[in-house]
């Protein structure tokens, strides 16, 4: 294993492709299998339905991918989606605000709500799980408070059409998701900010000592997550022409699942925008396909859960021994130098507590 990766470049490409490929192959397999089982599955109309149904998970999942890459988690995304949906709908229906301003207000509100998570995590130094567990409840409560728990009906058509119509047969929301995904990929892979996000998740101390303003990076990432959750909440409002105070709640776990299926590592440092998109598509296809096959909806949860477990197992496997090219990305403790010269002293360091165990020196 050491020798076959020593040459570097060609293997590396192969290695990367295999990792990215496994999720695409899995998605393709699922589509083909459902296509065989039901002739209605692989029709244009049905595929369009799947794409549309995947959009909410995709939007929230992309934001979560950034959060997860920093090594954090955002449990409040579902509540932010609900809260923003009801605030914007309320503005339009009861205050007569226009569709575009209401959308903008929603996105800003989402950013603020997410940024607040980031502030709790960086400045107050709460663990992300705790901070967002708290705000999940707070934002959900605020969603009830706005209309005293009542849904907001009769959302203006102008707003519904903005997020829920078709351009040349393509649902506008699918176009929006693709644009968001492209921008997110650019942000993550082609900007200093993105590099800092990945470094922060890989080793926060390294990023900090290299001069990265870690707190700012995290606050922006949680703000971004909040904004995308807000957009997702607005999409849900447009889809049913009404806002409900709990509309966003079901999307929390499925969006996390989409990101994780797509290769995001909850330990931080790794995640792929394209992977998250495919993860959301897989979840959409499963729901849709099982309905077409008349499988009772209870089983859908079982299948979804199994898919998450299997996807992560395959991802882990592809990084370890499988095909002989894994590098154990998640296994940080295990260094795998590729130089032929003997690497010195990991065990020796470990066995010399006088040298190694004092973290200060």
């Amino acid at each position: 294993m050491t020798t076959d990766t020593a040459a570097g470049r060609p293997q590396r490409h192969f290695h990367l492709n295999m990792q990215a490929l496994s999720i695409f192959l899995a998605a393709a397999a699922i589509f083909v299998i459902f296509g065989f089982l039901n002739s209605n599955f692989l029709t244009v109309g049905n595929l369009r339905d799947i794409a549309v149904s995947a959009c909410v998970n995709a939007l929230i999942g992309i934001g979560l991918t950034f959060v997860i890459i920093t090594g954090g988690i955002d449990l409040s995304v579902g509540s932010i989606a609900s809260f923003v949906g009801i605030v914007s709908a309320n503005l339009m229906v009861n205050s007569g605000v226009g569709a575009a301003p209401a959308l903008l207000v929603g996105l800003v509100l989402g950013f603020v709500a997410g940024g607040l998570n980031g502030i709790l995590i960086t400045l107050v130094k709460l663990p992300p799980f705790i901070a967002t567990l708290g705000t999940m409840s707070v934002y959900q409560g605020l969603a009830y408070v706005v209309t005293e728990g009542q849904p907001v009906y009769n959302v203006p058509q102008s707003f519904v059409l903005m997020l829920n119509s078709y351009i040349a047969g393509v649902p506008i929301i699918v176009v929006i998701v693709i644009v968001v995904a492209l921008l997110a990929w650019l942000l993550l892979r082609r900007t200093v900010f993105g590099q800092n996000v990945i470094a922060t998740g890989g080793s926060e101390e390294t990023a900090w000592l290299s001069g990265v303003r870690v707190a700012r990076v995290k606050i922006l990432v949680y703000g971004l997550s909040g904004s995308l959750a807000a957009l997702a909440g607005l999409v849900v409002v447009a889809r049913i022409s009404a806002a409900q105070s709990e509309a966003g709640a079901p999307y929390l776990l499925t969006a996390i699942a989409a990101a994780v299926i797509g290769g995001a590592n909850l330990m931080g440092g790794e995640g792929r925008i394209a992977g998250t998109l495919v993860g959301a598509l897989i979840l959409g296809a499963l729901t849709n396909g099982l309905v077409l096959l008349n499988v009772p909806s209870f089983y859908e949860q079982i299948v979804t859960g199994l898919v998450v477990v299997i996807a992560v197992a395959i991802d882990q496997g592809s990084k370890h021994a499988w095909w002989g090219l894994g590098r154990g990305r998640r296994n940080r403790s295990e260094p795998t130098p590729v130089t032929p010269s003997p690497s010195t002293t990991d065990p020796a360091e470990a066995s010399e507590p006088t040298v190694a165990s004092r973290t200060g020196e």
Binding site: T5, A6, G8, R9, R12, R189, R190, T191, V192, F193, Q195, N196, I198, A199, G201, G202, S203, E205, T206, A207, W208, L209, S210, G211, V212, R213, G269, E270, R327, R329, R332, P335, T336, P337, V338, T339, S341, P342, S343, T344, T345, D346, P347, A348, E349, S351, E352, P353, T354, V355, S357, R358, T359, G360, E361
Partner: protein
């Protein structure tokens, strides 16, 4: 003379790239207190690991009371009555004193252990730390925890007790009581004690005999009555120096480039000053735990609450975080490259770009990986990085090459001040020479260099001037007398006159 209790014969142990122990033999008798001395990395901890059963020797054997050990496991060592009290106490803070003493014992053993618990509590009290058995460990001071760990090692049928730096967290007046009790227990119960310490006065006070490990071998052995502090120290450090000489030592009239005054940390009352001239390499020596790393971290404001006035090139710089120190021209190459120097899952080039050198990230928000790879490859070539492909992940490089990556991060930043913390820890000999050459070049280019190292030959061959730190303070400065003996004596707090006297 009492019979032999422990016999270590011809023990050897190697780790990849390092021979930690080489043919080590010595004996320990019943009731004897033996000091195991040696510098960091001399092999003391490896030997304790083998004694405690957590490591198995490649060669040689360990015999207790004439019975040769067949299997190396902590369980086996405990069954033989070998107890190790580690430097970092193995305790559970959430449990009480009594629960910690009984940790790992079965219900039956617990019932039989009541008197042992009483004995341990009496011992701790005799050491000057009366403890209530119901107190949680989280409420105890580090010194109290250490005392408890020592007492626990003696409490449960021990034949051999090894104490690894037992007094580091204790104040002077406690140390005497602790050492008295250890002596007393050894004599009273015929227990053999192996005492590991850097503090020479304690060694002289408590031991019957001393064994000095040097580079994995027994370099010296003597009854304490027949030796002196000076003799022991000389035998600890007396080895050949690495054949490196600075090609560009600092000139006599080089101007001051970097001044730090009143550098303080919230966790210590100490305040330190440092001046480094252009082209000068200042070494900071001292024992592990003496506050050297913390001093460097305070300079770059890596921890909250640090303060001090910094002047670079005559201009005061006002910084509050590593971001500020980076932009002010200070490069910090930390000790733990895997956790502090690199994001291991990222490609090498992205790690090098992490300090946001304009050459690598440009001026706008966008980056070009292709450009980063090109510049990083140039840097890699200039550092003889192997493998040369900077698209590999940082974790795929060996220790020495990872260290080159950490240094490469700072080479395009235009930094004027370079702070190195243990720059060659875990780096093999060839890599060391390359890193020394690089440090020499950085100095020759007129930068100010500070090197913290526990490797004395390294400090001696690199430095124009050496400061010794002890208990968070610089206690001495060496320019003419940069040699192992003066530095070790200073780091251990032995005044030159005192060590000359020697107190048997």
């Amino acid at each position: 003379m009492k019979p032999v209790l422990l016999e270590i014969s011809n023990v050897a142990k190697s780790f990849p790239g390092v021979r930690a122990l080489d043919n080590v033999s010595f004996t320990l008798r019943h009731g004897e207190v033996l000091t195991l001395a040696g510098e960091n990395g001399a092999g003391k901890s490896t030997l304790l690991g083998i004694l405690g059963g957590s490591l198995a020797p490649d060669n040689g054997s360990v015999s207790v009371d004439g019975v040769r050990r067949g299997e190396y496991s902590p369980r086996q060592a405990l069954a033989e009555g070998v107890m190790i009290a580690h430097q970092e106490p193995a305790i559970v803070p959430q449990l009480t004193v009594e629960q910690n003493l009984l940790l790992g014992k079965t219900a039956a053993e617990r019932r039989a252990a009541a008197s042992a618990v009483d004995g341990a509590l009496a011992d701790v009290a005799a050491m000057g730390f009366p403890l209530d058995r119901r107190t949680r460990l989280s409420r105890l001071s580090p010194a109290q925890r250490h005392a408890l760990t020592i007492a626990k090692a003696f409490a449960f049928g021990a034949k051999i007790v090894a104490l690894d730096e037992p007094t580091t967290s204790m104040l002077e007046h406690n140390v005497d009581a602790v050492l008295d009790r250890v002596r007393h227990l050894a004599t009273e119960r015929d227990i053999g004690v192996i005492f590991v310490s850097h503090k020479m006065p304690e060694v002289m006070a408590v031991s019957d005999r001393v064994v000095v490990l040097r580079d994995g071998r027994v370099g010296y052995e003597s009854p304490i009555a027949d030796t002196t502090t000076e003799e022991i120290v000389r035998n600890m450090v007396g080895r050949e120096l690495l054949g490196f000489r600075r090609a560009h030592p600092v000139g006599p009239d080089a101007p001051v480039l970097f001044t730090a005054t009143g550098v303080t940390r919230p966790d210590s009352p100490a305040s330190n000053d440092l001046t480094v001239r252009a082209g000068e390499v200042v070494g900071i020596a001292g024992l592990v735990g003496s506050g050297r790393t913390e001093f460097l971290r305070a300079l770059v404001r890596a921890d909250p609450g640090c303060s001090g006035t910094l002047v670079i090139d005559g201009k005061p710089v006002n910084i509050h975080s590593p971001n500020g120190s980076r932009d002010a021209g200070i490069a910090f190459i930390p000790e733990d490259r895997k956790r502090q120097g690199l994001a291991l899952q990222m490609p090498a080039y992205a790690n090098i770009a992490l300090t946001a050198a304009p050459d690598l990230v440009g001026t706008g928000p966008f980056i070009s990986p292709r450009h980063q790879i090109k510049v990083a490859s140039e840097l890699g070539t200039s550092l003889s990085l192997r493998p040369a492909n900077v698209r590999l992940r940082a974790r795929q490089y060996s220790g020495g090459n990872q260290q080159k990556l950490v240094i490469a991060k700072w080479l395009r930043r235009g930094s004027r001040v370079f702070l190195f913390d243990e720059p060659t820890k875990g780096v093999d000999v060839g890599g060391k020479a390359e890193i020394y050459g690089l440090i020499d070049q950085l100095a020759a280019a007129g930068n100010a260099i500070v090197v913290v190292s526990s490797d004395l030959p390294e400090i001696i061959s690199l430095s124009d001037r050496v400061l010794v730190m002890r208990n968070d303070r610089f206690i001495s400065e060496h320019v003419e007398d940069i040699n192992e003996h003066s530095l070790v004596a200073s780091a251990m707090g032995i005044a030159a006159s005192e060590s000359a006297k020697g107190t048997p």
